[in-house]
């Protein structure tokens, strides 16, 4: 059991190192001109275990660990974070919140598919994602 935990930590740190390399490359290239991540970063598929299109897949998974109501599944919404057992992405929930103005209104709109608690969870997930993505070197947020 302990071995598994250590192995998981090693995997995590290797993903992090890969992420730092990617960040360096991103500084040098404009990926839109180069035709997308798959050309620049062929190793993505190995690092993220998903098609080489989403460099943040590992971060999605990382944030999911702290938010059990949010999940990612390859093949459902292309693997982006969504509310558990629905086809509602975290981004969509935020968009609805922007348009409708309150958590209650969003819950009412999607009634009975999602609850207010799940909407709060999606907001918290988005916050964590932004903060870790903005400062991945911070041990406070990463470890």
């Amino acid at each position: 059991m302990r071995v598994e935990v250590i192995k998981e930590k090693e995997d995590e740190s290797s993903k992090y190192l890969e992420y730092r390399k990617i960040k360096e490359r991103l500084r040098k290239y404009d990926i839109r001109k180069e035709g997308g991540c798959s050309i620049l970063f062929p190793s993505f598929s190995r690092v993220t275990k998903s098609p080489a299109v989403n460099p943040f897949a590992w971060l999605f998974e990382r944030c999911c660990k702290e938010h059990p109501d949010i999940e990612t599944t390859p093949g459902v919404l292309g693997g982006i974070p969504r509310i558990r057992r629905t086809r509602l992405s975290v981004g969509q929930v935020l968009g609805r919140l922007y348009v409708l103005g309150s958590i209650r209104a969003v819950a009412q709109y999607y009634k009975p598919d999602i609850s207010e608690e799940q909407i709060k969870e999606a907001i918290a997930y988005a916050q964590d994602f932004m903060e870790i993505a903005g400062d991945p070197e911070s041990s406070e947020t990463y470890d």
Partner: protein, 126 residues
């Protein structure tokens, strides 16, 4: 077929148009977390069009024209029931709706781009 993202309110409003019959994926019997491929493959069999907002994951690159029943992507990020109703109404009135089956249509506020066989683009301004 209306994706879960839009929910029942959008389906109800679109039915007011008269020109379309809209039902949610849930009403068609799909589970709430159905896989993208499963829904798209069903479109081919049932000859329905899917109305969705997930343009990052369901698009003409992943699901090229002629491989499904047809997909309409709402491109407005801050959509409301009313804006979708207006956009769909404008699209229906444009006379180009007949091109939508088996193709991927990106529907913007004032225009639509239809990706047809072999990625031929048809651009329409309303």
């Amino acid at each position: 077929m209306i994706d879960n993202t839009f929910g029942a309110p959008v389906a109800e409003k679109l039915n007011d148009l008269g020109a379309v019959t809209a039902k949610t994926t849930k009403e068609y019997g799909f589970s709430e977390n159905a896989h993208d491929d499963f829904i798209i493959n069903k479109l081919r069999d049932t000859k329905h069009l899917l109305l969705t907002h997930d343009y990052n994951t369901i698009n003409e690159r992943k699901y090229p024209a002629c491989s499904h029943g047809g997909i309409i992507l709402i491109m407005n990020r801050r959509w409301t029931v009313e804006t979708i109703h207006e956009d769909m109404k404008a699209f229906c009135k444009s006379g180009f709706r007949k091109h939508a089956p088996h193709c991927v249509t990106r529907l913007y506020r004032k225009k639509a781009i239809i990706f047809q066989h072999e990625n031929e683009r048809l651009e329409i301004d309303f």
